[in-house]
């Protein structure tokens, strides 16, 4: 691969504002209102007037169109807008694409957001099932792989079979992430501790995955504001630079039911990591804190391998000894993540990554200078490297 003429976006843009709504099982406001609230909070955080926003970046699953965002917030002409597909795989892509557009001068102030209500039909990939299954899902849904958890349970079982991983390893992930949520007053599981006994005794959702291997059902929204480096210095908050960004659809990939390539346990994160690190000045061993997409606990283990924190098959063992805890070698999902803060298609992971780089996390990693944020493993994915 020759990309000598390419100009990577390394540190040329920064996230200067973050915003989140409350998170709850049910919020009264519609998705549109939640989106507007989160964006407004993010712009106030940055000290930028909504009329200055000229770039909009969102998920294809987003229920609120760009024109609604723009006319409600009183934006002037928006000169760049785009969406990324594949649900939870989109998040870092939504932010990274906005960074590329800002770096290339297609817009000056970009907002990326996600607003999601569990009751909204469009937000739940399995909510639209009818008695006829079209497209890729015709190869799996009729046989009873109905929900995302069923699809990931198949990969998890295979992983356990090949590498000797056990539920103890999945429990390591769930309890570490919960311990972070217990320090975050905004997390839905803030007041609920999770013990190993509770985990082991939990009801099955799709064996080998139990209740606590699943992300929360949440209503809520998040937003970030992206500007060029020179503009970032004038904003209210310490800039958090987007050091590297990558997306990937690996060879012969099928979203969620990724069983049809040579080695389904080498997921999309591997190809994403290859570009991410190639454009970076540092590597996995330099990462101080990570926000790894956790719709399901085994995805964290697969991501640890894909992004190079350990070798293939070693991700489960990597979690032993509270590695992912605040005092561990790699604190992960320090806001509580999708498992214990809220599930907003991974957008809260991006906000938490920014908070860590600003020194403002509820589970602050002392002196943290680098953060990896990833989006959905098992689907076409994306990742960001943030630094301060």
């Amino acid at each position: 691969m020759h990309d000598d003429d390419a100009l990577p976006i390394k540190d040329r843009t920064a996230i200067v504002g973050v915003g989140q709504t409350a998170f709850a099982k049910h919020l009264e406001q519609p998705e549109k209102v939640l989106a507007l609230e989160a964006i407004l909070i993010a712009l106030e955080d940055a000290g930028i007037d909504p009329s200055e926003v000229d770039g909009l970046s969102s998920y294809t699953m987003e229920g609120t169109e760009e024109i609604e965002i723009a006319r409600n917030l009183g934006m002037d002409a928006v000169t760049w807008f785009s969406q990324v597909g594949y649900g939870g795989g989109a998040g870092c892509g939504v932010v990274g694409n906005a960074a590329m557009a800002v770096a290339a001068g297609q817009c000056n102030v970009a907002v990326a957001w996600r607003s999601r209500k569990r009751g909204a039909a469009a937000s739940r990939p399995w909510a639209g099932v009818r008695d006829q299954v079209h497209g890729n899902q015709q190869w799996s849904r009729p046989f009873g792989l109905l929900r995302p958890v069923d699809e990931i349970a198949v990969l998890t079982r295979r992983y356990m079979h090949e590498f000797g991983a056990t539920r103890e390893h999945l429990c390591n992930v769930a309890t570490a992430v919960r311990s972070h949520a217990n320090r975050n007053p905004g997390a839905m599981m803030h007041a609920k501790e999770l013990t190993r006994d509770q985990y082991m005794g939990a009801r099955w959702i799709s064996e080998p995955l139990c209740l606590f291997d699943n992300c929360l059902e949440s209503d809520g929204a998040g937003a970030v504001v992206i500007v060029r480096r020179d503009r970032a210095d004038d904003c209210r908050q310490q800039p958090v630079y987007i050091h590297s960004f990558a997306q990937s659809i690996p060879a012969q990939h099928q979203t969620m039911t990724n069983y049809f390539n040579d080695d389904p346990l080498v997921g999309p994160s591997y190809a994403c990591a290859e570009l991410l690190w190639r454009h970076a000045d540092f590597g996995a061993h330099d990462i101080d804190v990570a926000q790894l997409y956790d719709a399901f606990s085994p995805l964290v283990i697969l991501s640890l391998e894909g992004y190079g924190f350990c070798d293939r098959g070693e991700g489960a063992g990597f979690t032993d000894g509270n590695t992912l805890g605040l005092e561990g070698r790699l604190p992960v999902n320090t806001s509580g993540g999708g498992l214990s803060e809220a599930y907003v298609h991974g957008f809260n992971l991006i906000v938490e990554g920014v908070n860590q780089m600003r020194g403002q996390s509820c589970s602050q990693v002392e002196g943290a200078e680098t953060c990896l944020v990833t989006s959905g493993e098992g689907v076409p994915t994306s990742a960001l490297l943030l630094r301060n």
């Binding site: 099932v129 497209g135 009873g144 198949v154 079982r157 799709s206 064996e207 069983y259």
Partner: protein, 148 residues
């Protein structure tokens, strides 16, 4: 109550499901370079040929992995839960895989085999559960798997 889900045959899959209705497990094989592919699609990813034939397979394979879903599930599935869903690696090429159910005989319930007795690596063979179709509808049968 809503019935169990059925595949909707389309341009890529119609032939596959029709062969199932005839009691044959066939996968696409590139007529130019010979590469097999699954799920079906118009083009060979190795040589980009649009020409393919449908190769008859032995219908034998091994369990590559499985899940055991529990409710909440769609009603027609919830009443059979917990049930096993297996992914089968086909003998002719273990990187060709298919999702299905391990059952005692064609058309038996999803839980006709105790899902907690399923083992990764165990040998299975295909059986076909016929699906009643109205006049003019695409022919269709569901490939299922039994122990061998």
């Amino acid at each position: 109550m809503m019935p169990m889900l059925l595949p909707a045959p389309d341009d890529d899959s119609r032939a596959f499901w029709a062969y199932c209705a005839a009691g044959e497990l066939r996968v696409q094989r590139c007529a130019s370079c010979g590469r097999r592919r699954m799920p079906p699609r118009p083009m060979c990813p190795s040589c980009r040929s649009f020409d393919a034939e449908w190769e008859l397979l032995s219908g034998r394979g091994t369990v590559w992995s499985f899940a055991v879903p529990h409710p909440p599930l769609l009603p027609a599935y919830a009443e059979q839960a917990p049930y096993g869903v297996i992914v089968v690696a086909l003998d002719e090429d273990p990187t060709l895989r298919m999702v299905g159910n391990l059952v005692t005989e064609a058309g038996a319930p999803l839980n006709s085999v105790d899902p907690h007795t399923i083992e990764v690596g165990e040998p299975v063979e295909v059986v076909f559960a016929p699906v009643e179709r109205a006049e003019g509808e695409d022919l269709l049968a569901l490939p299922q798997w039994r122990r061998r």
